[in-house]
């Protein structure tokens, strides 16, 4: 972090110091011991070529009748109530442990359980699990479990005379979730105290408190489905999974087939653009264009310094502006494609189309998460072995694994490149498939559906190229 005291020591060093200080703040966060190498040019070319070919082949071979829209689920097994209660208890205990570690443990980010548990296991790990196994977060959701527990006890005491929850405003939709995820991304990518364990623990408590208030006002399920940012975020990814947990039973379904069921209520498109945009900014903010000597960030920061802000504040404002602009850019790209689609067939307004095709952005958002954070999960995730044994960083060894270290050679840099590019290409294909399937239900004529998809194709190619570029040397070096 920036220490203004030292900079003041030499006035001449001030300008140089500002530039030199930027890359430090540009890092994802202090937890990252190892950053990915930019993908080499030959792989970039390969990725782009495969994307283009996949797109054209998709146009040719994709089915002429909607398939995913009509996919059926098959019941696999039932889930006893006991398990639900148990999962809730585990979730609450885990939450309490992380918050306690953050508040009571050492304030060195890497030695405290809280930062790694929140940024790596919770934020990155759960999306990976959700895509494979369905919405696994829901049963463990700590604030929801607390609310349900309280509701059960109060319901018993009041003998069913509880007031009915207020009606959740339709216009509010997923907006609270969109703002919640944007706020989290701001803390992760902009806030100077992002790695501070006690700050994180405090923010976690604040978040849980807001959720409890929301659930008590609007009802537990409604609030969780629409406004609990993390629950909504994980549930979106879970829609791609081949497993579906609902009504105390497990169902299986074709992969991706949960996505078309997404009700794109107000705020949904914004949420998806926030998801893609914030991840993009994480990559972009590490690149030369942003952080280099003549990059955007130093120039902007200079402006804010001139306005009388301190170094630290100017830096945070600069990064906030970048974050918001990137989200806006992603949203603009999507709206552009949708506007193009609106010109086909002449019956659909762009606003309506933006909502009806929103679910095709879920795989793109997932691909960005995998491409940017897979290595963080693979490497920093290993730190959990040591952190679980010594959550407070006070020398404890609860499980006998306190001295475990991170093996940075579990996957080679080349292996990570393939995962990154593979994720982007697969996400691209999945997004195209979903959009194609939806087009067949939106447009009555196959011909119009296909023509509308040229626009979607352009959008998807745009997103995937952006994703590839963000990983490449031209953006990173």
């Amino acid at each position: 972090m920036i220490r203004g005291v030292r900079i003041a020591a030499a006035a001449a060093a001030l300008a140089g110091g500002a530039v030199a200080a930027l890359p430090d703040a540009a890092l994802a966060h202090g937890l990252v011991g190892r950053q990915d190498l930019p993908i080499p040019r030959w792989l970039f070319a390969w990725g782009a070529a495969v994307v283009l070919v996949v797109s054209f082949v998709a146009l040719a071979v994709l089915w002429p009748r909607p398939r995913l829209e009509e996919a059926r689920e098959k019941r696999v097994l039932g889930v006893p109530v006991v398990l639900e209660v148990l999962a809730g208890v585990i979730g609450v205990l885990g939450f309490a442990a992380v918050v306690y570690a953050g508040l009571a443990g050492t304030q060195t980010a890497t030695a405290n359980l809280a930062p790694t548990a929140i940024y790596v296991v919770f934020w990155i790990g759960i999306p990976f699990l959700s895509v494979l196994f369905g919405d696994v977060f829901a049963p463990f959701n700590p604030w929801r479990a607390i609310a349900r527990g309280v509701a059960w006890v109060v319901g018993r005491a009041a003998r069913g005379k509880l007031p009915a929850p207020m009606a959740y405003p339709v216009w509010l939709g997923r907006w609270p979730a969109a703002f919640g995820i944007l706020a989290f991304a701001w803390v992760e990518l902009v806030y100077v105290n992002r790695d501070d364990p006690s700050t994180l623990a405090g923010l976690a408590l604040l978040y849980a408190a807001v959720q409890l208030v929301g659930m008590s006002l609007y009802g537990i399920d409604t609030w969780t489905r629409r406004a609990d940012a993390f629950a909504v975020y994980f549930e979106l990814f879970a829609r791609l999974a081949p497993l579906h947990w609902r009504d105390r039973a497990l169902y299986r379904r074709p992969p991706l087939s949960g996505a078309p069921g997404l009700h794109a209520v107000p705020g949904t498109v914004a949420l998806l653009c926030v998801m893609i945009g914030t991840t993009s900014f994480d990559g972009f903010s590490q690149g030369d264009l942003w952080t280099g000597t003549n990059g955007i960030a130093p120039t902007l920061q200079e402006r804010f310094l001139d306005l009388g802000f301190s170094q630290e504040t100017a830096l945070q404002i600069t990064f906030t502006v970048g974050l918001v602009l990137m989200v806006g850019f992603v949203g603009g790209l999507y709206r552009l494609g949708v506007a193009g689609m609106g010109s086909i067939g002449g019956r659909h307004r762009p606003g309506e189309l933006a909502q009806r095709f929103a679910h095709s952005l879920i795989p793109i958002a997932l691909a960005y998460v995998v491409a940017h954070y897979f290595s963080l999960l693979a490497y920093q995730g290993q730190a959990m072995a040591a952190l679980l044994s010594d959550p407070l960083g006070d020398g404890a060894d609860l499980l006998g694994t306190a001295s475990a270290t991170i093996d940075y050679n579990v996957i080679s840099a080349t292996g990570i490149w393939y995962v990154q590019v593979g994720a982007l290409v697969l996400g691209h294909a999945a997004g195209l498939t979903l959009a194609h399937d939806r087009a067949l239900t939106v447009y009555r004529r196959v011909r119009d559906a296909t023509r509308s998809q040229y626009w979607m194709l352009a959008v998807m190619v745009g997103f995937t190229s952006l994703g590839l570029w963000l990983l490449s040397a031209s953006a990173q070096s």
């Binding site: 030199a20 430090d24 890092l27 190498l37 390969w46 082949v57 000597t293």
Partner: protein
């Protein structure tokens, strides 16, 4: 863009005939094949990882010399201009690491011989680079030290503040006291980019990059 003109007019069942579909798939494969051939042709050795190796080695030696001269120019304020003279003749296999151990303090680099064994065809590990810390900050901004896997990483930190120099990922730490220097020497066995920082001040002073060999 292949414009779809379904043979059955507006038949909602099929957009393209089977032959057309097969044709497009074949076309896609042909494009991939062409890309493959072009990319193969671009780098003569074929395999992607080894193909980039000669180029990077070349640039690496080039940057070695530029960083050396950079060090010479930026270090004007300092007392020893000997840092700039640590050039290394890349052709020889003897690994002449002309370290200026006289200027700072403990230059413990007795393993110059061992590194010639690991990198045979390439020029031996470049001269010791110096990261100069002035007023607790890296002089000239955060620079990148580039290596390939298997190389011997050697660099020196000369600091005017007392702190602990920590190389992330490799997790190597050494204390440096104000006005002295400390030398690092270890094998590049983890790929990626790593921060080198003054641990207590939380100031990044350089970036270590290790590419696949």
């Amino acid at each position: 863009m292949p414009e779809n003109t379904p043979p059955g007019g507006e038949d909602p069942g099929r957009g393209l005939s089977g032959v057309q579909r097969a044709g497009i798939v074949l076309g896609g494969l042909a494009v991939l094949l062409i890309v493959f051939v072009v990319l193969q042709g671009a780098d003569d050795s074929g395999s992607p990882s080894s193909s980039s190796a000669p180029q990077t080695t070349a640039t690496q030696t080039a940057t070695t010399q530029t960083t050396a001269t950079e060090a010479a120019t930026t270090d004007d304020s300092g007392e020893d201009s000997t840092t700039g003279t640590t050039t290394d003749d890349s052709g020889s296999t003897t690994g002449t690491t002309t370290d200026d151990s006289g200027s700072g303090g403990g230059g413990s680099d007795g393993d110059a011989e061992s590194e010639t064994g690991t990198t045979e065809t390439q020029p031996s590990a470049p001269a010791v680079r110096t990261i100069r810390v002035v007023n607790g900050r890296p002089a000239g901004g955060v620079r990148r030290l580039e290596y390939q896997r298997g190389d011997r990483i050697r660099f020196k930190v000369q600091s005017d503040v007392t702190d602990e120099v920590h190389v992330h990922g490799y997790d190597v730490s050494k204390n440096v006291s104000a006005g002295s220097s400390v030398t690092f020497s270890f094998t590049a066995n983890i790929e990626g980019r790593f921060e080198i920082e003054l641990e207590n001040a939380h100031t990044q002073i350089a970036e270590l990059e290790v590419k696949p060999s």
